[in-house]
């Protein structure tokens, strides 16, 4: 079931995922600038592409400061958790036929579990910083994850019902004739919103909320630990975009072009869409976030699940 060249797949996916997420810093700044009628970073190298390298050099040479009032062990481990959980999710991601690290038959559940574990990073970072703003950020992250994890899982069950499997490869194969975004449009919208909350992107970046909480959970972080939170966030965007592509937009399926190109094009389109949302939408208030999650999204997800189940049963 696994790929014919496991080591090559592991290394390739790791390197590509990490470099793509590093490059996303540049992509995001350029796109935000485009939508704000500016240029963005365009000085370092061609089109400013080497800005990423400059940022890396800067962030590696910064002082790596652990505050004396912090819980040291947890403070150091917290940024690693987000990287590990997101990168583990990439292991089950079918990028193209043969390019997958491990083809689990419960890949979707594995992804949901890993994305739930990712919140520990935020909560522990907020707690271990010993700073009231960080703690508030951590608390918000915990509440946000509980609210959005529930309907995120339920919104995906429609896809699972249609494909009849938790395996992501099977789900992609089931979309050979028709992408699941058509029969599962509501599920797609719900998963998109939950994914934004999961990646802590702008309409839902309450744990960070630099306008209210300094920088939220990573207020006390500096140097490469701060960098790991950022790489984790961009990896999260890449992962959510990849999952949307795999679950609703037919993964690598597409005419003419090779499968890998189709996958990358679709993922990039969703990354751009996430950045567009960041450029246009204001941050929700905390109570709005909670009531949206529990009062609107959860019932909608349940309705979607029930209707899909009824239709699938009726036409069996």
């Amino acid at each position: 079931m696994t790929s014919p060249y496991p080591l090559a797949s592991i290394l390739g996916i790791l390197i590509v995922a990490l470099s793509v997420s590093a490059l996303l810093i540049w992509v995001e700044r350029r796109l935000l600038a485009l939508w704000q009628d500016r240029y963005g970073p365009n000085r370092v190298g061609p089109f400013g592409l080497l800005q990423v390298v400059a940022d890396m050099i800067k962030i590696f040479t910064k002082e790596d400061w652990i505050p004396p009032f912090a819980d040291k062990a947890v403070f150091v481990i917290a940024p690693a958790i987000i990287m590990v959980t997101v990168l583990l999710s990439f292991a089950v991601l079918p990028i193209a036929p043969g390019i997958i690290v491990v083809d689990l038959n419960i890949a979707l559940l594995f992804f949901l579990g890993m994305s739930s574990l990712g919140v520990y990073s935020i909560v522990l970072a907020g707690w271990a910083s010993g700073n009231k703003y960080s703690l508030l950020g951590g608390l918000r992250a915990a509440a946000q994850m509980i609210s959005y994890e529930v309907f995120m899982g339920i919104s995906l069950m429609g896809v699972v019902l249609l494909a009849g499997s938790f395996s992501l490869t099977t789900i992609v194969e089931a979309q050979r004739n028709r992408w699941f975004v058509l029969p599962q449009f509501l599920g797609f919208v719900l998963f998109l919103i939950a994914g934004m909350a999961e990646a802590r992107r702008l309409p839902f970046d309450l744990p960070e909320a630099e306008a209210e909480l300094v920088a939220g959970f990573h207020s006390e972080y500096s140097g490469m630990k701060f960098g790991m939170f950022f790489v984790g966030e961009y990896l999260g965007i890449t992962l959510i975009s990849s999952m949307i592509t795999v679950l609703f937009f037919g993964g690598w399926m597409g005419p003419w072009l090779p499968p890998l190109v189709w996958f990358l094009v679709k993922v990039f389109a969703f990354i751009c869409f996430f950045i567009l949302l960041r450029a246009s939408l204001p941050r929700l208030r905390f109570d709005q976030l909670m009531s949206l999650g529990w009062k609107v999204m959860l019932p909608l997800a349940l309705v979607n699940l029930v209707v899909t189940g009824a239709v699938v049963t009726a036409f069996k």
Partner: protein
């Protein structure tokens, strides 16, 4: 909900808008003729220094960046012995230009004065003095003032009434 979608769409339409940023070092911005930039000292049309070392600019300067020393030449005309502007302090407010009674000190539309050494931003008189009359061509302070100096008696200036003869009783 609909307004959110409209917001997203209108932000997306900015993809096709012109960018407002001016790419500065390659593309120079338009500077109005009266932009307040680097300070110069001008000369009158006859080539003499306009500055009469009255110290009004130094008094008006809110950051005390102007220092000068007054002296007189052989004709009894005052002029600055040295005139020093510290551009690392100067805030380009233009108060010195407003205070100047002889249009000597003027601000020009040039702001590119970066230096690697702070000391290089202290401009001496020979750095400040230009060869032209600046914004006021044809104006010569000594020709319109009522002050008597060598080469011009009282009442000989342009548009100047002859001086009152104190020994006459007629008006």
């Amino acid at each position: 909900m609909l307004s959110l979608l409209r917001t997203i769409w209108s932000v997306f339409l900015h993809t096709f808008r012109r960018r407002v940023t001016i790419q500065y070092p390659e593309q120079k911005p338009y500077l109005a003729p009266r932009t307040r930039g680097r300070i110069i000292l001008s000369r009158d049309p006859d080539g003499g220094e306009r500055c009469v070392a009255c110290h009004l600019c130094a008094v008006a300067c809110p950051v005390d960046c102007i220092s000068l020393q007054a002296t007189e030449d052989e004709n009894g005309r005052r002029y600055p012995e040295f005139f020093r502007i510290n551009f690392s302090r100067c805030i380009l407010c233009g108060y010195c230009e407003e205070a100047c009674p002889t249009y000597a000190i003027q601000l020009t539309p040039d702001f590119e004065m970066s230096e690697y050494k702070r000391q290089n931003l202290v401009y001496e008189k020979e750095d400040l003095l230009i060869d032209g009359p600046g914004k006021y061509p044809g104006y010569n302070y000594w020709r319109v003032s009522g002050v008597q100096v060598d080469g011009k008696g009282k009442g000989e200036a342009e548009n100047e009434a002859p001086p009152v003869d104190l020994r006459r009783l007629l008006p």
